[in-house]
């Protein structure tokens, strides 16, 4: 498989064209939005917890961005549903990257990890879980 076919493989294009978990949750229990300063791509994430206030019962996103950032966020929503906020807050990025399953240059890596970063920011705001490294030091005022 050449690089081109590897990156734009069917599953990526499918998630891009038919994103899972696309939309908003009104009165979400946790939410955040973030941008990739390199390209201006945006993702907003909404989380609803179950009755225990800890299990992620539903998660949705809205965004504008490249196939990689949108497909990765789409995959992320499938991956985290039913898991606990604490667990997801420390979800290793490789777990998502394995799912995305394509070779990524450093710039594209930022695209693939945008949604995960924003989800962790949302959990941080709602639950005080730790911020991911690349968002550490972001002033609270800048996190909307």
């Amino acid at each position: 498989m050449n690089e081109f076919d590897a990156m734009y493989r069917e599953v990526i294009l499918d998630h891009y064209k038919n994103p899972r978990g696309h939309g908003e949750i009104e009165d979400a229990d946790a939410q955040a939005e973030g941008q990739n300063p390199l390209c201006g791509d945006e993702v907003a994430i909404y989380v609803e917890f179950g009755p225990d206030g800890e299990t992620i019962e539903d998660v949705k996103f809205r965004g504008r961005g490249c196939a990689i950032s949108q497909a990765a966020t789409s995959m992320l929503t499938e991956m985290v549903k039913g898991r606990s906020a604490t667990e997801v807050a420390s979800l290793p990025r490789d777990e998502l990257l394995d799912e995305v399953g394509i070779p990524l240059t450093p710039i594209r890596l930022k695209c693939a990890l945008l949604g995960l970063g924003v989800l962790k920011v949302a959990l941080h705001k709602a639950k005080g879980t730790p911020l991911p490294e690349e968002w550490a030091g972001v002033d609270e005022l800048q996190i909307s």
Binding site: L38, C39, A67
Partner: protein, 414 residues
């Protein structure tokens, strides 16, 4: 606009001067369509810099031995080359900086902090590169002046009718405007804007980064007060830029960078400033890079600015014609007669990153992003665009490969 001197550019022959263009990228021949981001360098420029290091190198303006004199002569000779290129009155008006960003920050800080205050209006445009936008927004905030922008229409051209309305909002003190916009290639009517600014008693600060590589700039005819450009987009090394400013203004301004070389005398009680232009060149300047810039100007002059402009105009028209094949492609920006060699576009349903990535697999280098013009992107209602840009070494077959790549993009995302 392009006045054909009848001299045609032989782009194919010129390419032999740019060794990097012969190197494959990812196993494919390189089609470099990202020159407005940064241009490639001809051997003549690299050779001039190497020769300077090999024969004339010591620190400038300090050493009393022969090498120091030769180094200073090289640096000051470069200043004269830049003066002639800009048709400035004197080399005292030519300040070397590390790039356009530093040059524009210099004006915003050194002129702005002393001349702006409440009731004043600082005007930039919606087309500005962040480097002629953010410093003014910031210094306006610092001084209590108001910050406003000249809006652009959906073709990325300035709505000059708005100028007089803006003037009602305060005393216009500064108009910051780009000569040629870097995202869409819009050529702004800078002389007209500078004329308007003068009527308001305001200064005009021109960002000429995308003009200097492609067209002759006559600062006296332009009627502006400051003109900044950067070397690396015009065949010169990185780390060198120029700020031209009117002597009267430079003389009355406080310095920006403080330290060595920019002083006349320093004591515990009081420090006085050096003469122009050293007053604005604190520290050891990028003087070898300045020699490289002078070699780049010589190189471009030899190719001929009229010929360069005509060549890029041909490529632009060819590209716009070929993009017509692709109904999914929407080209932003004004008609060809009012733009430089830049084509920014949108492929329906495909993000610019993906467009650029797929083109890169074919060896075609373009830029995808907001191009440091987020206010303009907001105006157009997109987060980013894909941009192809041309220079004197660009060939029509590179455009063909670019268009073929776009066919592959639309097929992939169909």
């Amino acid at each position: 606009m392009a006045v054909s001197s009848g001299v045609k550019l032989d782009a194919r022959a010129l390419r032999a001067d740019f060794p990097i263009l012969a190197r494959p990228m990812g196993g494919k021949p390189l089609a470099y369509l990202d020159s407005s981001n940064s241009s490639q360098k001809p051997r003549q420029v690299m050779d001039a810099e190497r020769e300077y290091y090999e024969t004339s190198y010591a620190n400038v303006h300090r050493a009393l031995y022969e090498l120091g004199e030769k180094a200073t002569a090289g640096y000051e000779g470069a200043r004269e080359t830049v003066r002639a290129f800009l048709n400035a009155e004197t080399t005292r008006e030519i300040v070397f900086t590390r790039g356009a960003t530093e040059a524009l920050n210099l004006v915003a800080y050194a002129w702005g902090l002393d001349n702006l205050g409440p009731g004043d209006l600082v005007v930039a445009t919606e087309l500005e590169h962040h480097s002629n936008f953010v410093p003014w927004q910031f210094i306006a905030g610092r001084t209590g002046a108001e910050f406003a922008v000249v809006p652009a229409n959906e073709h990325g051209e300035l709505e000059l009718e708005a100028l007089d309305e803006l003037a009602a909002r305060g005393t216009v003190k500064v108009v910051a405007v780009g000569y040629v916009n870097n995202s869409l290639g819009t050529v702004n009517p800078v002389e007209r804007i500078a004329g308007w600014a003068r009527e308001q008693g305001a200064i005009t600060v021109v960002d000429a980064c995308q003009a200097a590589p492609h067209r002759r700039i006559d600062v006296q005819a332009l009627g502006a007060d400051f003109v900044a450009f950067t070397g690396h987009k015009m065949c010169a090394p990185t780390g060198i830029g120029v700020l031209w400013g009117r002597r009267e203004l430079f003389e009355r301004m406080s310095p920006f960078g403080l330290g060595g070389d920019m002083i006349r005398s320093v004591s515990v009680e009081k420090t006085t400033w050096n003469e122009l232009p050293q007053k604005f060149e604190a520290g050891t300047p990028p003087f070898a890079q300045a020699v490289g810039l002078a070699a780049a100007i010589d190189y471009l002059e030899a190719a001929g600015f009229e010929a360069i402009e005509a060549h890029e105009r041909d490529l632009l028209e060819y590209t716009l014609g070929r993009l017509g094949e692709l109904p999914q492609v929407k080209v932003w920006g004004p008609p060809a007669e009012r733009r430089g060699g830049i084509v920014s576009f949108d492929v329906a349903g495909v993000h610019p990153h993906d467009v650029a990535q797929i083109l890169a697999y074919d060896g075609v280098a373009v830029r995808a992003g907001h191009h440091c013009t987020q206010p303009l992107m907001t105006r157009l209602g997109v987060p980013a665009t894909t941009r192809a840009s041309f220079y004197l070494y660009t060939l029509p077959e590179e455009i063909d490969r670019f268009v073929e790549g776009l066919h592959r993009v639309t097929k992939t995302f169909a």
